[in-house]
Each structure stands twice: as C-alpha cells, then as structure tokens.
C-alpha cells in the first residue's frame, strides 16, 4: 500500500510538472505571436464533405500567403491553422478548442451550416470574431460576433429577384416551390418581397408538398396560362428534374431559374437527359470560367498550387480572408490586443468596409452579419455551367 501511495504521489507530481511545462509553452507561444494575427480555420477536410473543407483551407492559405508576401496587414503577418471537423458538430467544437489552445484570435468557419451553428455558441462565449465563408443557414450568424461571406438561404430569394430584374431576364415570372420545406419556403418568401421593387411581375405562385411531388402538370399549366416567360424554382434538383421533363412533355419552354438547391441537376439524377437542363440558370456566387481579371488570376494561382479548378467554397474563403484584412486595416487592431478587443474592433469595422471580391464587387455587411452584394448566376450550356 505504501509503495502504491509513493507511486501515486510521484505520478501526480510529474503530472503537475508537465502541466506547468504546458502552461509555459502556451505563454511563450502567445508571446511570440505578437507580430502575427492567428486565424483558426474549421471545416471538413476528410469524409464526405471534404471537397468543401479542403477548398476553404486551400483558398484561405492562398490568400494568407499572398497577403504575407505583399507585406502583411498594417505590418503584421497572418498565420493560418486549419482543423478538421469531419462534418460533425461536436468535432467542430473540439476543433475550436484546439485552435483556442493554439492562440487563435479570429475564426474562419465552420464551412458547413450545422457545424458552424455549434461553433457560434462557443465564439459568443469567448467573444471571438467568427466569419464563415459558406455557412448559409440563418442561425450561422445568430450572434453579433458572427458574419458570413455567402448569401443566407432565404437571402438567395431576394438576390435571385434582383438578378432577374436587373438583367431583364423576364417580364412575367411564375414560382413553383415546396411549401412543406423551410428552405424552399424561406427563399420563396424573400423572392416575393424582393420582387416588389423589380421591373418584372409575378403572375403565378404555386406550391407542392413532400406528399405530392410527382405531378407538376397543374403548376406548369397555370404558369403557361398566366403567360410566364420565366419560372423560378427555389427547390432541390430532384423535383426540378421532374418539372423540366414535364414542361418538355407539354411543349412549354420558359426560362428556368434556380438557386443552390438546383446545383446537382447535371450530376445528381442518374440517367437524366441533360439536354432538358440546357438554358437553366442558377444563382451561384462564383463561376470559375468567368473572364474578369480577378477570377482568372485566382483560378490560375489555385490551379498551379493545388492542381484543380476552385469551386465556390474556395472563392468564399478567399474573399473571407481579404475581408478580414480590410477590417483589420480599418479598425487598426493589433495582434497583441486581447481576443475580445480584436472582436469588438472587427465587428465595428465590418459594417464599414467594402471589398471587391471573387463573389461580388463592392461587398458590404450589415450588423447582423449578412453580406450585401450583387448576385451572380450561371447558365447551363452544352451540359456544363457557364458564367453569364
């Protein structure tokens, strides 16, 4: 028994020494970082959604390297540490804790909505600034320290209305939406309110529900009778593929306009006749084949470094890092400030900055964390997306 006690006390003592050593190294780490802003990135870099997480990680690294090579921000460098959350909300919170131990001062992420919402509770507790490139659920920006680069789910409706109106795509618009789905209904409502200030007229608003989504003949017939030249489809691609098939069968060929749920129409339905999707337009923040200088330069740099064409997540992430840079320049915060002071500084600066990014020109934010930017869209031509 005595021997055991001795063993325990030695073990405890060594544990204490080790933990103190831990404290020491932490202190020295935060001490050495006073010349760099530490950005902690969170996203799925393994598993089913790895394509999203890796795109965000790669593009963020690209932006950080560019900024550092150009002399940093206000003379300070950026340091990026990206942690995997495997698309799991709990692991996302663990990743956040790991980053906090590392000394993160700003959080980039999470990449996906569910994980992002879980992390917002933690960043709110610590008052750490959090910018998600791609978390689109409304709750991803539920606190005042949360901002995002992408449009929120319902905001896609208003953005679509703006795009259709400003580009004169149609004069009479019909809508077919899923009234049993929050995502679809949210976009539908924001489309209708956004359309009020646009030049086109909504001539037909028809719904379907999860229980009756095989026959769309009535909805299409009403759109046709009302003379709609464009049908807005704030729905997922599975139902959209049926609508396209049935419209084709009726000999009705309006323009079709979708949002991100439409992304997948070319690949998500096995054996789907892709020629039916020709001319379908969808709202997307980024098209890799756009010809503006910034996109061309970004795509070339990304491809050279990572060997693939960047997707919209990469573009959101790249803009996120430049937005953080702009906000730091505006607020004048320093890496030696406390996490909370940096957060307050960035929060104040974010509503004042305006950046020209890959996902839009003149992007500005409001205090709720939502971006305001000109929407972009792609059109399907020859079975592939093409910038409009």
């Amino acid at each position: 028994m005595k021997k055991f006690n001795k063993f325990v006390s030695v073990a405890l003592a060594s544990a204490m020494v080790l933990s103190m050593a831990g404290c020491g190294s932490d202190a020295s780490q935060s001490g050495s970082s006073s010349d760099a802003f530490k950005i902690g990135g969170i996203g799925p870099t393994t598993g089913g959604a790895a394509a999203y997480g890796l795109a965000v990680q790669n593009a963020a690294q690209l932006a950080v390297d560019e900024i550092n090579a150009a002399g940093g921000v206000n003379g300070y460098k950026f340091e990026l540490n990206f942690q995997d959350d495997e698309l799991d909300a709990e692991k996302s919170v663990n990743a956040y804790n790991t980053l906090k131990d590392w000394g993160a001062q700003i959080i980039l992420g999470s990449v996906t909505s569910g994980c992002c919402i879980a992390v917002t509770d933690k960043t709110k507790e610590d008052n750490m600034f959090q910018l998600t490139p791609s978390g689109s659920a409304v709750a991803c920006t539920q606190y005042d320290n949360n901002f995002r680069v992408c449009f929120s789910d319902p905001a896609q409706g208003a953005a679509s209305a703006q795009y259709i109106g400003e580009n004169g795509l149609a004069s009479k618009v019909a809508i077919i939406y899923d009234s049993s789905d929050t995502y679809s209904t949210g976009i539908y409502e924001s489309f209708v309110s956004g359309a009020a200030s646009q030049s086109f007229e909504i001539v037909s608003e028809e719904a379907f529900t999860a229980d009756s989504k095989t026959d769309f003949s009535v909805q299409l017939q009403k759109a046709q009778d009302a003379g709609a030249d464009l049908i807005f489809l704030p729905i997922y691609y599975q139902e959209a593929s049926l609508i396209l098939t049935q419209a084709n069968g009726m000999g009705y060929a309006p323009k079709f306009f979708g949002v991100d749920g439409m992304d997948g129409i070319l690949t998500g339905v096995d054996n789907f006749d892709k020629s039916l999707a020709e001319g379908v337009m969808l709202l997307t923040p980024f098209a890799a084949d756009a010809t503006d200088d910034m996109t061309v330069k970004f795509v070339a740099a990304y491809q050279e470094k990572f060997g693939e064409i960047p997707n919209q997540f990469a573009a959101d992430s790249y803009d996120a890092i430049y937005a953080i840079k702009a906000a730091i320049e505006k607020s004048g915060v320093k890496p030696s400030d406390s996490v909370s002071d940096i957060c307050e500084g960035l929060k104040g600066a974010f509503v004042e900055i305006s950046i020209d990014g890959l996902t839009g020109e003149g992007i500005v934010w409001d205090a709720t964390g939502e971006p305001n930017k000109a929407p972009k869209a792609v059109i399907i031509e020859n079975g592939a997306y093409k910038a409009m």
């Binding site: 229980d211 009756s212 095989t214 009535v218 593929s241 069968g249 339905v269 054996n271 789907f272």
Partner: protein, 294 residues
C-alpha cells in the same frame, strides 16, 4: 380549354392510382388483409425494369417481363415468410404491423442496392401521344397505355374470378376460409396465388408509374401506394371496378383541387372528399356489404 387540360392531367394521374389500387383491392378482397408493402413491390418492379433497360440496355419488353416475374415471386415469398405464419394470430393487427415492417425492409434493401440517388426512368412506352383540338391538348402515350392496361387488367381479373375454378376458389376463400377448406379448397395455395397476381400487377403499375412520372428512388412507391389505398377504399375496397373508378376520381379531384382551389392544401381537400364520401356511403362508391367481395 384549361379545364379540359386539367381533366386530362387528372385522368392520367388517376389511371396510375387505379392501376395500383387494383392490386390493393385484389389482395384485400381475397386475403382480407391490407398489404402495405404493395407500394414498395411497385418500386422493386420499377427498379428491375430500370436495371434491365437502362443499365444493361436490353429492350423494354424484357425489362417489363423480368419485373413481372421477379415481383410475382417476391409477392409469394413475402406472403409465405411474413404473412402466412400470422394468419391464425389472435389479432388481425399483427399481420398489418408485419406488412409495415416488410414495407420498410424493401425500402432499405433498395437503398442498399441502388443508393439514395434519384434515377430518371426511361419510359418503356413508345406509343405516340394523342393530339386533340389542333394540338392544343395532348394526351401522352403513357396515359393511353395506362388506361388501356387498367381496362384490360380489370376485364381479365373479372373473367378469371368468375369463369375459372381457381377464381371461384378465391371467391370461396374470401367468403369463409374454414368452409372453403372443408369443401376441399387449398386455402394456402389460393391465397398465395392471390399474392402472386397482386404483385405481378404491382410490377406493371410500377413500370407505368415511372414511365409517366420518370423519377425513381427507394421511396417512389410509398406515397402513390398510400394514395392508391385511399382510391381503393374510395371506390369500395374489394371491388375491382370500384378500384378503377376510385383511382380515376381521386386523380381528378386531386388535380382539380390544385388547379381551382389551392396547390398548397390539395391533399387536405382530397382527404376531406374521402371523409365525406365515406360518411355518406361507408362501404365506398361500389362497395356492397356482404354479397360479392371481389
């Protein structure tokens, strides 16, 4: 003009319900059980045809035949394994619960084999669409074939039941199992035959459902299955012409409710009509109380 278009949409949707309802009503009429897995047998039939025609590239006739054969054996297998042992169970609920279990089993097996991705079903119907009133109204080839199939199947079933020995045995079993057995009828064999015919009809219904509405995934059969069950009750469950009339009416009511009242509450209206009909005529439109069950 748009009224006629809606009417035709209603008939094409209704003809699919009717075809599914025929299988439902057949099994209920003889075996006195609700086979809730019927909708999923439909889905298996459609997947069989999809695999043979779209994946292997064989002609549609082979695809349809293979689906009919596979579903016939599947139906008999389900009956033998899941329903027959429970036929003498104290509560008729036992076999109903088992049917729900079989339904989920089939969905999950399909999910495992074919994945959750929706598949675009290539129509097996090469019948030309019928154009009326100078082309302003089109009746698709699928609709014509579905209605013709319904009528042919309905007539064949009635002839089979009333003119053949096996059919008479079915009637006898539906009247009174015990008495039928005493008269020397093989009750188990007769019920197995009923399931075989019902499931073969399900295969045809699946192929035509997916030809008309070309979207196939493991849950494709469940909602049309439930609607067809409603159609069968509506027309008078157990009655073969009743299933046909119930199906067509249900389709028309659903489309008219969407077109003239509201596309959001169409389903609620359909079921409200069902409640009213059943309040006025509890056995359904063509349902008779005791006399003839099939």
């Amino acid at each position: 003009m748009s009224f006629l278009k809606y009417l035709i949409s209603g008939i094409s949707l209704g003809s699919v319900y009717a075809l599914i309802a025929l299988g439902y009503t057949m099994v209920y009429g003889i075996a006195k059980m609700l086979n809730f897995a019927h909708g999923d047998v439909i889905m298996i039939g459609a997947f069989t045809t999809y695999t043979i025609c779209s994946t292997l590239g064989l002609p549609p006739v082979i695809g349809v035949l293979a689906a009919v054969i596979l579903c016939t054996f599947l139906g008999m297998g389900i009956e033998r394994v899941a329903y027959k042992p429970l036929r003498k169970a104290a509560s008729p609920l036992a076999v109903l619960i088992t049917a729900i279990g079989v339904s989920y089993l089939l969905q999950n097996i399909a999910l495992l084999i074919f994945g959750a991705n929706t598949k675009a079903f290539a129509s097996v119907v090469s019948f030309p669409a019928l154009e009326l009133a100078d082309g302003s109204i089109t009746v698709s080839g699928e609709t014509i074939v579905t209605i013709l199939s319904c009528i042919v199947i309905m007539i064949c079933l009635m002839l089979f039941i009333h003119k053949t020995k096996a059919g008479q045995a079915m009637l006898a079993v539906s009247e009174d199992k015990g008495a039928a057995q005493l008269m020397g009828i093989n009750v188990n064999g007769t019920i197995a035959l009923t399931f075989a015919i019902g499931s073969a009809l399900a295969a045809i219904a699946g192929v035509l459902l997916c030809s008309a509405y070309p979207s196939l995934n493991p849950y494709t059969g469940s909602m049309p299955g439930i609607k067809a069950f409603v159609a069968a009750v509506f027309g008078g469950i157990g009655s073969i012409p009743g299933a046909f009339i119930g199906g067509i009416l249900l389709g028309i009511i659903e489309i008219f409710a969407k077109a003239y009242i509201s596309s959001q509450v169409a389903d609620a209206i359909v079921f409200a009509v069902l409640i009213i009909v059943l309040l006025i005529k509890p056995t359904g439109i063509l349902g008779r109380n005791v006399q003839e069950k099939v």
